[in-house]
Symmetry: C2
Subunit: 457 residues, 2 copies
C-alpha cells in the first residue's frame, strides 16, 4: 500500500500531489497568518472525480484533510495542523454556465469571486455576493464560510445566493444537487448543511448561484448623527421610503476620529466632532428620480434633526473616497491590531459598544479601540490597537470581548466564521443543545472525523 | 407504566391528551382529505415543556408522533397513520415579541399566519410570507414545510424569513436557538435542518422571523403575450427597470380560457384569444412616481410588441378581481381535480407544459388540463380535471406528470412538500447520493424514527 502520500501520488499523479517539504508557504496558513504549519502534502485536484479519489483514500487511511480556497479567511479555518493533508480547489476554477433565462450561474468551487462577479456583469446580471477579498477569495470558500460582506442588508448572506451545490463527502461520495429552481421542496434541502460548515462536513466542488438584476442607479452619502436611536431611525426610514438600501455602514466617533485624522487619509467628508457617522448607499432602478429622492429624504431628515450633517457623493470617485474611510486603512499601520467580527441584536449594539469599550480601557488604558460595522445586519466590527505588548495579549483581549458578547447574547462570529480562533468561544453564543445538534450532524456526515478536524466544532 | 396514552395523560393531564375515539375528525387528515385516519390519541400541549414531555415519553415507548399545524397541507404530511399519536400545536399561539429596532418578531408555532401578518402590519412592518391558506395555516407548519406562496419572487421562501427557531427533538430535548441577528456564523446554522423537514426531524415550537419594510405603493396589471420568450423577457425587464416586482403569475391559454369563461367569473380582464397571460404586481416605495413608471414601462413594452395587450388595475377592487382569475376558483367545481405543484428551470417550463399536456391528452383525451404558476420562482401548477373516473386514476395521472418532471430534471414538489403523496416520486427529483444524505440526517436526529414516519423520506 505505501503511506497515504504515496497512495495519493499513485492514484492522482505527481502533478496533483506535492509532498510536504515541497509545499509552498502560502498553503501553510490563511490571511490571519497565525501559526503556519507545513502540511503532510498538498493535493490540487483538477476535477470532482479527483477530489473524490483523494477523499476516498484519506478516509480509508483515517487521514485528516483540510480544504483550502483563496486562503483569505481570518479565523484559521483553512490552516493545516501538523500531519494534515491540504486539498486546494484552486485548479477547479471557471464559469461552467450562465443561464440567462433562469438568472443563474454555475461555477467551479475554485473560481475567484471577482471572476464570477465580472462574468455575471457581462451577462447583464449582478452576483450579489461581495466582500473586500473579492480579488483572491474563491466561491467555494465563500459558501463554506457563508460569507457576508457589504450587501447583506439588501441581498442576504452567501447562503441566500445558493440554489444548488455539488459536494464530496468525507468518504469520497459525490453528491450532485445543482438545482436551478428558486422553489424546490423535494425533500430536505441538504445544501444548507454544507453552507457555512467550514469544510467540516464535505468539500464543495461546484455551485449554482442565483443572479439578480443589476441596479440602474447608485447614490452614496456620508451622514453625521447625534445618537444611536437616530442611526437606527435613519436606517428604517431609508429602507421604507427609498427601498433598495444596499449598504448602511455605521462608524462610532472613535473610529471616525482615528481614520479621518490618519496621515493616509486625504480628505474628511465631515468634521470629526459628531458622535456617529453612517455611510449610506442606495441602489435603485429609476436613474431619472433616484438621486433626487435620496437627496430629498436626507434634506428632510436634516430639517427635522434626525441627521445633523450630511454630504452626498457627487461622483463615483467621491463615493469611493467615502468607502476608503469606512474600510479603515490606517488601522493596519499599528504594531498590534486585534480585529473582531461579532453580532448583536440591533437594539443592543450601542450599549454593547459602550460596555466593551469600558472593559477594554479599564484593563488596557493605553489601547485604542474603534467600533464600526454593518449595523443593518446586526454586525459590529471592533479593532483593538495596542503598542508594547506581545501577541500573547491577544487571548486576554479575546476573553474580554467575547465575555461582553456572551453577556448580551450576541454571536462571536457574525461573518468571519469560527475556524480555530473562535472555537473556544463557540459556547459563548451557542447552548449545550445547539452544540449537541452540531455534533450529531458532524457524526452523521463525517463519522471518522477526517474533514478539517479541530475547526469550528 | 400503563400504555403510552395513559402515561401521557398522567404526565400532561386529561385536558391535554384526548384518546383516539374522542378525537375530532378534523385531526384525521389534512386539506387533501385523502385517507383520513383516527389517531391513537391527540395531544394539545400548552408549552414547549409539554411538547418535550410528550416526546420524551413517546421516544421511550417507540411511539410514532405526527405534528400538526393548521392542517392546510395538500401532501398528506400531517395525516396520521393508524396507531400514530398526533401533536397539535394549536394551543401554542401568540406573538411573544416584536422588536422594532431589530425588525423581528418572535411567535409561538401555533400562531395563525394571518394573525402574525396583522401584528407585523400594526407594528409598521411587513411579514413577507403569504399564501392562500393564511387564515388557517400556522407559522410552525409554514416553516416545517418551507412554504412558498405569492411573494417568493421578492422576499424568498419561508426559510428566508427565519432568523431563529426553537425545536423539540425526537427524544424531548429542547433546542432553543432564537437568534435575532441577520449575520450569525457561530457554528452550523442548525435551524436550516428543521425548516422544510415536514416534522420528521423535530417539532418547531417557536420562531423568530425577519420583518421587512411595508411597501408604500402597489400597481397591478393583467397582460397578454404572444410567446413564452416574451413572458420571460417581460419578467426580467420589470425586475431590472422597476425593481420590486412582488408577483409575476403566468397563465397558459388553457387556464385563462377555462377560468375567464367560467360561470363564476364576473368579468374577463382581457379577451381569451392570446397564448399567454401574466398578472404582474409591483410594490414600490415612491407613491408619487411608481404608478407612472409602471404604466410607462407597459406602454413601451406594448409599443415594441413585447406585450400584445394589457390592463392596469385602477382600484384595489380591480386588482383583487385580477387575483380571483389567477386563483382559479372555477377549477374546484369539477368532479375530480388532480393538482400539481412542480418546478423546473425557467427556460424549460414552456416545453415541459407542452410535453406534459400532450402526454395527458394522449392517455385521457377528454381530460381538461390547465397550466399556471409563479414563473419567476420556477414554479408551475397544473390542474387536471376529469369526469367519469374513480379516484384510482390519480396514481396514473401522477405517474405521467412526474415522469415528465423527471425527464426535464425538475422537482416533484416546488412548495407543497412531499408528505405521503409524493414520497414514491422523491427519487424522480433527487439522486441516490442526495437521498443517502437525507437518510443520514434523519438517522442522526431521530434514530428511532418516531417523528412523522412514512412522510417525506
Amino acid at each position: 500500500m505505501g503511506d497515504i502520500v504515496d497512495q495519493l501520488t499513485q492514484a492522482l499523479g505527481a502533478d496533483v500531489v506535492t509532498a510536504g517539504p515541497d509545499v509552498d508557504k502560502r498553503y501553510h496558513c490563511d490571511w490571519s497568518a497565525i501559526d503556519p504549519v507545513q502540511p503532510k502534502a498538498l493535493i490540487r485536484p483538477r476535477s470532482t472525480a479527483e477530489v473524490s479519489t483523494a477523499l476516498r483514500l484519506c478516509h480509508t487511511a483515517g487521514q485528516a484533510v483540510v480544504p483550502q480556497g483563496g486562503l483569505t479567511g481570518l479565523a484559521g479555518g483553512a490552516t493545516p495542523r501538523r500531519g494534515d493533508i491540504v486539498v486546494s480547489l484552486e485548479r477547479m476554477a471557471g464559469i461552467e454556465e450562465i443561464d440567462k433565462v433562469a438568472a443563474t450561474m454555475t461555477v467551479a468551487a475554485g473560481t475567484v469571486l471577482e471572476t464570477a462577479q465580472r462574468a455575471a456583469d457581462e451577462a447583464g446580471f449582478l452576483l450579489a455576493l461581495d466582500l473586500g477579498a473579492r480579488g483572491s477569495c474563491q466561491v467555494g470558500g465563500n459558501l463554506s464560510t457563508n460569507a457576508g460582506g457589504n450587501r447583506v442588508i439588501r441581498y442576504g448572506m452567501a447562503r441566500e445566493q445558493v440554489l444548488g451545490l455539488e459536494v464530496v463527502l468525507a468518504d469520497g461520495e459525490i453528491v450532485t444537487s445543482l438545482n436551478k429552481m428558486l422553489k424546490n421542496n423535494a425533500g430536505y434541502d441538504i445544501k444548507q448543511v454544507f453552507i457555512g460548515a467550514e469544510g467540516t462536513l464535505g468539500i464543495i466542488t461546484r455551485a449554482t448561484l442565483r443572479l439578480h438584476s443589476r441596479p440602474l442607479s447608485r447614490a452614496t452619502a456620508f451622514c453625521a448623527l447625534a445618537d444611536y436611536a437616530s442611526v437606527v431611525g435613519l436606517l428604517r426610514r431609508m429602507q421604507s421610503e427609498l427601498g433598495g438600501i444596499s449598504a448602511f455602514e455605521v462608524m462610532w466617533h472613535d473610529f471616525y476620529d482615528f481614520i479621518a485624522n490618519h496621515p493616509t487619509t486625504k480628505q474628511k467628508p465631515l468634521p470629526d466632532n459628531y458622535p456617529y457617522y453612517a455611510l449610506v448607499e442606495f441602489s435603485g432602478s429609476d436613474p431619472d428620480h433616484d438621486l433626487n429622492r435620496f437627496e430629498a429624504l436626507l434634506a428632510k431628515a436634516m430639517a427635522d434633526g434626525a441627521v445633523v450633517d450630511a454630504v452626498v457623493a457627487q461622483s463615483e470617485q467621491a463615493a469611493r473616497d467615502f468607502w476608503l474611510i469606512r474600510e479603515g486603512h490606517g488601522i493596519d499601520t499599528k504594531p498590534l491590531v486585534i480585529n473582531f467580527d461579532v453580532s448583536l441584536p440591533i437594539a443592543d449594539i450601542d450599549s454593547f459598544a459602550a460596555e466593551c469599550r469600558a472593559a477594554l480601557s479599564a484593563k488596557w488604558p493605553d489601547s485604542l479601540n474603534v467600533f464600526y460595522g454593518h449595523i443593518g445586519d446586526s454586525n459590529l466590527h471592533i479593532s483593538v490597537m495596542m503598542e508594547g505588548y506581545g501577541s500573547e495579549v491577544m487571548h486576554e483581549v479575546d476573553a474580554v470581548v467575547y465575555q461582553a458578547v456572551r453577556a448580551m447574547k450576541g454571536s462571536v462570529s457574525a461573518e468571519h466564521g469560527v475556524g480555530t480562533l473562535k472555537r473556544a468561544y463557540l459556547g459563548h453564543s451557542r447552548g449545550a443543545a445547539e452544540l449537541s445538534v452540531m455534533r450529531r450532524l458532524k457524526q452523521a456526515l463525517d463519522p471518522k472525523g477526517i474533514l478539517n478536524p479541530g475547526k469550528l466544532i
